[in-house]
């Protein structure tokens, strides 16, 4: 009998919060308006800075008439290149953590104009209304240099391209060539040659970039409330330029109203706000206008050439993918554009290239799924085209050319369940009912098209740190200087901490967005869950180890002699795995110990051995239905199934939202987004929210998100891959492919506007 009642050693009680659809703990603050964003810290005695920007694309400021503005009562100062003091001298002082090569833009540094809308002055006044008015009457005379070019096609025709330089964080040069790509192309029975383009796209997060500097009056101490994806990056940038200590330049960013890459690099309003605060020794707020947000980075206009060929059965024989992208005159922004084609498909003969050309615009910036959104659009359209030439179903074509290892690095994937994305996505969508013939499906006057696309994104991890404090009342607070631009950082970190120490969710608080906290990387690259999540887990395990030691000091401790590895945390108790009746309440341990709190600080970083051994990626497959009005050419995306393999899903509710958002971004990229350059003026003409189109509620219909099961022991301790980027991939191509299926027209230039269909 005694043997049958012995507790099996494998029994684990689980707090069971990881993997559950938990609502965001900051939700109540967001829906009630209590959440404070950068421009909402109404500190006492606040002055307002208003930015003035250049109407010309190239030239030089001749004269700035500040007297009329300074004469207005209540105007405090007009900052221009003429009176901004010299700060740090070297370029490197202006480089942030993710700056590309070249010479970073220095706001208000010199009279030269390098791009339209370049900020040229900051007017500071007692009220916002006054600063805005004063800025409107600031007279600036320019000498115009007409020798500029903002047309990438023109730069390409003039042979201005150069190989993209290495050096930017995360940028991978194109893979090395394999086999004889050109020879195999010529010899193959089915060929596709295509040029694929998209134009400049602007991030346009809902919250405009803003900084509130609270001048604390003790030396140069400031609280700098900034809109950013990473307070530590902003702090190090400010410290180098203005020679400030960590205590002086405290950067805080509790809520970020979207950013999508625009907040990776410190933007010019934070420079201006801090400069003005230091010069005036006063609290200052600087907010950009929506119009001014078209002067601080964009997804670069990119022209891609693809040559694909297959044999009679549809097996790829040649894969050639090159990209030609814009950058500014002063920096070399690089993206990883073409590599994804090589990672997705098996092909013995391949060739890749990536060139930049300098045009007279501001430096482009990483924007949601940078490079991959661009590359995935081109390769996935080309694959669709080739599948038609080969007479193979587009899904079948992808399965024929599926690869179980990464051909660009000759390494196995740490995990890759893309095949399940294909099968489960196709099943949910009803792909097998598709008649492959273009223009074969119709509903009234609407042509119906079904298309698909796929994508992959890096599953990366950065070093991150966290600290935790468990107080005597059983409440746990975990801190890290990470960010939440809407990705769900608050909720997933709360879940990880709660699960690691077996505490109820409402006993756990996660604090982020402050440079006084342990350092964490920028929120970007879909790496927050892996990086900060692993740090939070490690830190909570340290707390657990300390708790166990305290528990073992208790009289007749039930956990006497039990190793940490043999202890489980659940329901507010520590238990021995081998016998879960050997248990002690965490609050009891704390009370007995007499300690006010148990604290720990720890960090996590990627495993270099696993990184050498495996290629680590998330994958997705998107299936799309469009309805195209045959007479009007209007396109409606009526249905999307987006199947994602991204390792362990920590929170299906917020992860689903990330993929929904990514899907909407894919629809937006395919059908709407383009910043129109007037190349005579060198200026984006639709620089506002009415004319730069993004989807509204009426544009978005049914979106189905599937997370396929994917276990991955190699990628990081949590087995997560991140979901911020992956959901966007494949969607734009799937829409273009569906439009072809509906109409018989191939459009290779985004956005797919009516004029291109009629």
């Amino acid at each position: 009998m005694s043997q049958t009642i012995a507790t099996p050693p494998t029994v684990r009680l689980d707090s069971d919060v990881i993997g559950k659809p938990i609502s965001r703990p900051e939700g109540a603050a967001k829906v009630s308006g209590a959440a404070k964003y950068a421009a909402e810290y109404n500190v006492p005695n606040l002055w307002y800075g208003y930015i003035v920007d250049s109407p010309i694309a190239k030239g030089k400021i001749l004269k700035i008439d500040v007297d009329a503005v300074l004469a207005l009562p209540g105007v405090k100062q007009v900052f221009t290149h003429e009176n901004v003091p010299s700060f740090a001298w070297f370029d490197r002082s202006y480089k942030d953590d993710v700056a590309p090569g070249g010479s970073p833009f220095r706001p208000l540094h010199e009279p030269e104009i390098m791009f339209s809308q370049q900020p040229v002055a900051l007017v500071v006044a007692e009220t916002f209304e006054l600063a805005r008015y004063a800025a409107s009457i600031l007279r600036i005379d320019y000498e115009v240099d007409e020798n500029f070019n903002t047309d990438l096609e023109k730069a390409r025709a003039a042979g201005k391209g150069f190989d993209a330089p290495k050096g930017k964080t995360g940028f991978l040069p194109p893979p090395k060539p394999k086999g004889d790509a050109e020879g195999a192309f010529k010899a193959a029975p089915h060929q596709v040659t295509g040029e694929y383009t998209h134009h400049a796209q602007h991030h346009n997060p809902m919250e405009m970039f803003a900084t509130t500097v609270e001048w604390l009056g003790d030396g140069k101490k400031m609280n700098i409330y900034d809109k950013t994806q990473g307070a530590p990056n902003v702090q190090q940038y400010l410290r180098k330029i203005f020679s400030l200590s960590k205590e002086e330049a405290r950067v805080v960013s509790k809520f970020t109203g979207g950013a999508f890459g625009a907040g990776l690099r410190p933007q010019h309003q934070v420079f201006m706000a801090v400069m003005a605060a230091l010069e005036l020794e006063h609290s200052v707020r600087v907010s950009m206008t929506r119009q001014q947000m078209f002067s601080m980075g964009h997804r670069p206009h990119t022209i891609q050439d693809i040559k694909l060929a297959s044999d009679e059965q549809g097996y790829l024989q040649s894969l050639q993918h090159t990209a030609f992208a814009e950058t500014s005159q002063f920096e070399d922004e690089t993206e990883t554009v073409v590599n994804w084609s090589g990672i997705l498909y098996k092909c013995d003969n391949s060739k890749f290239g990536y060139e930049l050309a300098k045009i007279d615009v501001d430096t482009p910036a990483d924007m949601r799924a940078p490079g991959a959104a661009t590359g995935s659009f081109a390769i996935e359209c080309a694959v669709d085209e080739l599948s038609y030439k080969a007479g193979v179903d587009p899904l079948e074509f992808r399965l024929l050319n599926y690869t179980y290892s990464d051909p660009t690095e000759n390494k196995p994937f740490s995990s890759k369940r893309l095949i399940d994305c294909y099968h489960e996505g196709a099943k949910r969508f009803g792909w097998e009912q598709r008649n492959p013939e273009p223009r074969s499906m119709r509903e009234g006057n609407m042509l119906v098209g079904w298309g698909m696309g796929t994508g992959c994104w890096d599953a990366s991890m950065q070093k991150a740190a966290a600290k935790a404090s468990l107080s005597a009342d059983g409440k746990l607070t975990v801190h890290s200087a990470t960010n939440d631009q809407g990705a769900g950082t608050y909720v997933i970190m709360t879940q990880i901490a709660a699960q690691t120490l077996g505490l109820p969710l409402d006993q756990v608080t996660f604090v982020l967005g402050d440079t006084n906290l342990p350092e964490a990387p920028l929120q970007g690259g879909s790496w927050t869950a892996a990086s900060v999540g692993s740090a939070v887990q490690a830190t909570c395990q340290e707390v657990g180890k300390k708790l166990l030691k305290l528990a073992q000091k208790m009289d007749n401790s039930p956990l006497d002699g039990v190793a940490f590895e043999d202890v489980q945390f659940a329901d507010g108790h520590m238990r021995a795995n081998e016998d879960i009746t050997k248990s002690v309440a965490i609050t009891e341990v704390l009370a007995t110990s007499g300690e006010a709190a148990v604290e720990a600080e720890s960090s996590a970083q990627p495993n270099p051995i696993n990184m050498l051994k495996y290629s680590m990626h998330s994958h997705n497959a998107a299936f799309v239905e469009v309805k195209v009005d045959e007479d009007l050419g209007t396109i409606h995306v009526t249905r999307v199934v987006n199947a994602v393999a991204a390792g362990r899903i920590l929170n299906p509710k917020t992860a689903r939202s990330q993929v929904l958002g990514g899907t909407v971004w894919g629809i937006s990229m395919a059908l709407m987004e383009e910043a129109y350059l007037d190349n005579n003026l060198g200026r984006y003409m639709n620089h506002n929210y009415a004319e730069y189109h993004v989807p509204v509620n009426a544009d978005i219909h049914k979106i189905d998100v599937i997370f396929v099961e994917e276990e991955d022991d190699h990628v990081n301790p949590l087995g997560v891959k991140g979901v911020g980027e992956i959901g966007m991939l494949g969607v734009a191509a799937a829409i273009a492919n569906a439009v072809y299926h509906a109409t018989g027209k191939r459009v290779r230039d985004l956005p797919l506007t009516i004029d291109k269909l009629l």
Binding site: S23, S32, A34, L72, P73, T127, D141, M208, G486, S657
Partner: protein
Amino acid sequence: MSLHFIQEPLDHTPPAIAPTQPVTLHINGEDHTIQIAPWTSLLDALREYLDLTGTKKGCDHGQCGACTVLMDGKRINSCLALATVYQGKQITTIEGLGGEDDLSPLQQAFIDHDAFQCGYCTPGQICSAQGLINEGRAKTEDEVRELMSGNLCRCGAYTNILSAVMEVLHDGQVVVDNGTLVTIPMQPTQSSSVN
């Protein structure tokens, strides 16, 4: 040959700044008197003078809906409204719909359906949805999509916003009584939050 981009000189001395004046606004059931210039928008009055920062500025041009508030129950873009014009009106902002501890059904539905990510457009979406419910026009999903299309959400939470609004619409918040639509109370009571 280089060109010059020369602005015309002002043909007059810039006018002295318009004098400020006391303006009394009735917001969320309370009167607030502030001293502001007449060109101050209602949005800036709320955010910069009254610390009611729940109302968001997303474009300042009536293009995005982030600044939506309710004026006598109807939704307006507060960035296109001069504060002084709205004296004597009943202004309801997101703070008036429900606080963190007494959320309205709509606010709770937004949390339950994860109808936001960054949260910046959210107060405007909720005020707009409340206005939509007050209008009593929308019943179907297509109608809600259409009539919620003045509020941009760059995170792309539209399908979840739709679900949240539909849940509240279907919870008997809009009742057809002898063919007449009955609007729900503007200010939910403490007990009305759904958990």
